[in-house]
């Protein structure tokens, strides 16, 4: 069953097209990669689908609700925004409890959710420490935990491994694969790192300058190009630069 359906989704800022006619579907339990160079429109696509921005054209549904019901969509999605900030003075546990309360959970349920999620992402030991004392990797794991606080049907992760060392990246990718497998949620993973896509994604959307260049299972997109890297450079026109 499709948990995301986008048809001709556009976002225009004056004369500039940030996103131009994005059309795709994603199913439950699928990890779909959103790949593209900087400025390709990945973050815009996520902000449209998460109802933070309003599209200038096209339609979409997320978790069974159309885009004109943002409140319903927000109830059923979890998001790790790009370059998410964290309240430095709150503890990890307090941060998650607050998020859970905003999703309508009781004090007791919010407490239980915070404990469970911090354990899931390996932060139980630092639950009461201020977020300002967390490393970047710990903050990203906390962000993923927050994205899961409402048991979402669809999870959007925008550059979750940005700025992490290889060990940190590996931990995050393992967590993402786990989210899709154990929770049956659709995961939309925005990245510009090809190895991440190859490691955890089932299918792929390649964006370049706001346009969708390719969509489908990774094997199909690689096709005769030999590798995802070659296919990506070809589709984004970067193979002719040198």
């Amino acid at each position: 069953m499709a948990t995301i359906e986008a048809s001709g989704l556009c976002k225009r800022y004056g004369a500039r097209n940030a996103l131009d006619g994005l059309t795709f579907t994603a199913d439950a339990g699928e990890v779909i990669g959103l790949l593209g160079p900087n400025g390709a429109g990945k973050t815009t696509a996520i902000r449209l689908l998460t109802t933070i921005l309003e599209p200038t054209g096209g339609t979409f549904t997320v978790a069974g609700f159309p885009g004109d019901q943002p409140h319903q969509i927000r109830q059923r999605i979890g998001v790790l925004p790009e370059s998410a900030g964290y309240p430095a003075r709150q503890s990890g546990a307090e941060y998650l409890r607050y998020a859970a309360r905003l999703f309508g959970q009781s004090r007791r349920d919010a407490q239980a959710a915070a404990e469970r999620l911090l354990a899931d992402v390996g932060l139980s030991e630092r639950a009461g420490a201020r977020i300002s004392t967390y490393s970047r990797g710990m903050k990203q794991r906390l962000g993923i935990a927050r994205a899961l606080v409402n048991e979402p049907a669809v999870v959007f992760l925008d550059e979750p491994t940005l700025g992490l060392d290889p060990a940190g990246q590996s931990e995050i990718l393992a967590t993402i694969a786990d989210v899709a497998r154990r929770r049956g949620a659709t995961v939309v993973l925005s990245t510009h790192t090809l190895t991440e896509v190859e490691r955890v994604c089932d299918s792929l959307l390649i964006l370049d300058r706001g346009k969708l260049r390719a969509a489908g299972p990774i094997a199909e997109i690689v096709g005769g190009a030999g590798s995802l890297s070659t296919a990506f450079l070809h589709l984004t026109g970067q193979d002719s630069h040198d």
Partner: protein, 255 residues
Amino acid sequence: MTSWNVVATQESRDLWIGGRGPVLIFGYSILLSAITYLAATNRAMNFLEQREAVNLMVQVALAVGVLLTVAISADTISGERERGTLEALLLTPAPRRAIVIGKLAAAATIWLACLIVAIPYLWVLGRGVSGAGQAAVLTLVVGTLVAVGLGGLGMIFSAWSNSNRTSLASGLLLLLVLFAPTQLPALPKTGFGQLLTRINPIGSALHYISQVLVARRSWTQDLDYLISPLVIAVAAVGALLIAAPRLVRLTAGTR
């Protein structure tokens, strides 16, 4: 518990537990102590009638309390934008109206703290003339109107600005513009001067308070001076409620 309550509770915790609230209130108490000491000991000021001393304390408490409320509320939205925490808040199902009301309620807690801290000073200055209790209730009623109104305006500035500095500077400029006329030595009490006092929510609030505390008029005698504080409170909160979906956005301005 409704969303606004959840937001207000967390924002209040952030302000008071490890936040700026306690330090600001400590600084405020130092100011009140200095004024109380001067009022009580300085020979030149000792000429003050007790009710005037209480009135002076109320005016300082109101002025500084409103200043702190505006400073806190001017940080509420633009500050979250700068720190990158607003998007996560907007991604929750909490209605935008609940977010602004929760944040305004939390900002108003600093005003209530200012009032509570002022009570012992009012008591010591007003002993024997039973002015302290009346002054505290008067400050609560009138000051809350002004603090909510101008705090609401501070929040609107905050929603309009991507930078915290801009919203804070706008809020402080507004306060300066409103406070300046109250400090003029001899504003005419008729015609244009009176109009200027009446349309200025701070000027009219201070005038009303001094009429009750010093001139010993009844609460109802100059009630029309409370029109502008009431109008500013209702207008600011109303504007926030009506325009919340347009105001509370990831970036100020275009969408």
